[in-house]
């Protein structure tokens, strides 16, 4: 059984792989169903890559959370990049500031139970997601 929290850097491409592996281990240890593990790991991969590519690198914080009988994993991806001016637009499918497909934010939101985007121009971006068992 795992409990607690931690953080790992997401600064370079290889860190995205490490973030995926870390989240997988947490999800397995918490006993998430395979489909929920897959969704959470995929969302983490999108958000970690965003932090590296658009945010100039940052960190992934993880914590295990509880609500009544349910347990979950909460992940926060924080960077000190340029931030997002138009959050509604950034959450639209197909909107992209770079060369991607524009599915990172909007797509990962669909894969988790809770999603929070906190960003302002010049103040970096923080995306917090939660998946419950």
């Amino acid at each position: 059984m795992i409990a607690g929290n931690g953080s790992i850097p997401v600064r370079v491409e290889q860190d995205v792989v490490l973030a995926r592996q870390t989240v997988r281990q947490l999800a397995v240890a918490l006993g998430l169903r395979l489909i929920d593990q897959t969704k959470l790991v995929t969302a983490a991969s999108e958000l970690a890559r965003n932090a590296v590519i658009h945010g100039g690198g940052g960190e992934m914080h993880w914590e295990t959370v509880e609500r009544g009988m349910r347990r979950g994993i909460r992940l926060a991806f924080a960077d000190q990049g340029a931030g997002i001016a138009d959050q509604a637009k950034a959450l639209t499918d197909g909107w992209s500031s770079g060369s991607g497909m524009g599915l990172g934010l909007s797509g990962s939101r669909r894969l988790v139970d809770e999603f929070e985007l906190d960003s302002a121009p010049g103040q970096g971006t923080r995306v917090t997601i939660t998946k419950w068992s």
């Binding site: 792989v17 995926r20 395979l34 489909i35 897959t38 497909m101 599915l103």
Partner: protein, 120 residues
């Protein structure tokens, strides 16, 4: 540098992705495959992703790009072995891999590529 091996079997190229790919590795595979199609004159490319436990938008885009590039170079790509959890997640993420031919497993993928009218 890391590379995903590309095997040649007659006029087919076979790629089995067995590692958790970082983005550069995926891009290298894309380049390597294009070059190999050109050099070998392969008519078919079979990509086995049964060992992959996630496909995110980056890998999804790589698969679509490989399929398009191969088509332009007169080769057909078939993606095989996607795990059910991966397929569900991919569709929810918003990727439907339009234009990419798929088959349940390697055997069926091979059969698809060996049909005389395999090109889409």
């Amino acid at each position: 540098m890391d590379r995903i091996p590309i095997l040649q079997m007659g006029d087919l190229l076979l790629v089995t992705i067995q590692v958790d790919m970082h983005d550069q590795l995926a891009l290298t595979l894309q380049d390597d495959l294009t070059e190999k199609i050109q050099r070998s004159g392969a008519r078919g490319v079979l990509i086995d992703i049964s060992a992959l436990d996630i496909v995110d938008s980056f890998i999804g885009r790589m698969i679509s790009t490989i399929s398009s590039l191969a088509r332009i170079m007169d080769a057909t790509t078939v993606l095989v072995g996607m795990q059910p959890a991966v397929a569900i997640t991919l569709v929810e993420l918003g990727l439907d891999l339009r234009g990419v031919r798929t088959a349940l497993n390697v055997e069926r993928g091979m059969r698809l590529l060996q049909q005389p009218d395999a090109s889409p």
